[in-house]
Symmetry: C2
Subunit: 336 residues, 2 copies
Amino acid sequence: MKKKITIKEIAKILMVSVSTVSKAMNDSPEISEKTKKKVKELAKFYGYVPNHIAVSLKNQSTFNIGVIIPDIQNSFLAEVLKNIEVHAKKNGYRIITFFTGEKLKEERESLNILSNGMVEGIIVCPSEETFVERQFEHFKNIAETTPIVTFDRLHKELNFNSVSVDDDQSILKACAHFQETDAKNVLFVSSIGWLSVGKTRRRTFTSFIESESSLSGETIEEHELEDLRQKIEERLTDSSQPKVDAILGADIESTIIANAIIAKNKLKLIDEISLIGYVNKKHNELQHPRVSYINQFPEKVGEQAVELLIKNLKEDQKKITQEIIKTAIVVKDTSK
Amino acid sequence: MKKKITIKEIAKILMVSVSTVSKAMNDSPEISEKTKKKVKELAKFYGYVPNHIAVSLKNQSTFNIGVIIPDIQNSFLAEVLKNIEVHAKKNGYRIITFFTGEKLKEERESLNILSNGMVEGIIVCPSEETFVERQFEHFKNIAETTPIVTFDRLHKELNFNSVSVDDDQSILKACAHFQETDAKNVLFVSSIGWLSVGKTRRRTFTSFIESESSLSGETIEEHELEDLRQKIEERLTDSSQPKVDAILGADIESTIIANAIIAKNKLKLIDEISLIGYVNKKHNELQHPRVSYINQFPEKVGEQAVELLIKNLKEDQKKITQEIIKTAIVVKDTSK
DNA sequence: CTGTTAGCGCGTTCAT
DNA sequence: ATGAACGCGCTAACAG
């Protein structure tokens, strides 16, 4: 492997000083056009490119943003990630991405590594395990030296700039939508009861149902997707129980499963049963039937997260901003 | 924002030299246990962590791997990316990810930035535009100083270690599968005719059809997904033309669309029509019906790419390895 | 216009 | 056992 050429070597070849080369490369006005040309030509010839590490060390700035994501398979997170990258690039920043697999240990490590001069700020979606274990010290420690923006998942201990989604509202809106379209018995299905978002969503659902006499509700939660499918199917095909005329999917997986069961059992959409849930927008747009869904606007989440971080980078502010993105119910083929 | 503490400041506080602190932190045997303890305690107290940038500059090694991906929305690429990260981590490397949006310019920039000391090697899936424009110089230039592994997309000009998938074989296997299950007229649908993989897949399909008298075939290609959907639907519902009894989807989108049209028109799977295509495995496993698909083993692609790169990092080798992952047809509900 | 020097944070000889 | 000094590659303040 050929060694990368440095400014020093170019200087030696041209018999000038390193600073002359450096200035020439950076188009400093103190250098003559002649010298600039000479230097640049040689630099090009040898394929010189400034060593990013050295520049970062010198300037004490990397123009990198760290991103920590629990799981790339989660299509919402993937979409947010993409938009973070796009928006960061627009502002002249690169992103360095780590995945945690929802693990606390990985999250700690990622934060540590990133904060040691690699990046200027970190955008992070906290891992589930972090909430389960109620461990937030690592965030606080890192935040003392590196600006942090969290997204999607909130906790009162996480006192940072953040962008999240009005999760409660989504569920409430969906319930209200069912109510308005004369549903009687809503089945809430979830594969993320173990996740704190999952718990919140369920709680919101049950409390709504309890407060509304015109609507009754049931809940099926199961982490194992195959078990979840079985339970939902059993429930939907059990004619001895009150009829379920609407399903609310609490996450993408359970929504896909519910939709699959409806298709498999040839239940008549809208007439017999309605479905609202979370989806992969792109996929949903192509399939048939398209599921009515809760739009969480991942584009906005990503963009806002970058926005907040960059603002924080430029001006050292004290007051924190906790942004909430409003969601919307998008009616497609599975509901009125 | 609190400033990060450095070795120098610790040294001053303890009234020792920086080298003593450095050695103590790195457990050098030349430092007394007493001093080590003293240093480490203070370091911990102040939350000292070595500056990664400085260490990299000093050691001339970053333990970073650069990854360049055209599009994260592509679920195959997303899955490969995930596995690259997991496998890299296993080997003590981090990944720095850039997205190109299939653009040549972005690819060039990404390669430039990454190769300037940020990473020790780069894993890249070349962008479509790169193939269209037939520009490969930037790869060659970078490769002179930084080990490169390409994946998924091949070109004779890309003489690097690579991992790809036996794309021709996949299409051939699917055709053969149709043939064995007595299909007569296969419709090849694609939204990626503009992509070189797309062209190869189509060519493979047509040449197979032409060589086999027992099978006839047709092709619908359309970049605009809505147009594609319309054309396919028109064709399938047009009884004046010979019946299509099998569909081969050349990419995820067209496969979803084909599947949607089948569902919408209530065509009887297997009896009336079969479908094999590319899918998002996770999604497919949950939906109904599950589409018979071509498994490209993204896990293997990711793992092998890292493997190749790390081998290249350790030993400066000359002979290049072009690995081909064997694909497999996975029969689910949409084909015999 | 060009060069000298110092220093970013760290690790590593080589002295002491 | 501890410290001084150098250098990784680069930029910038200061001289000339």
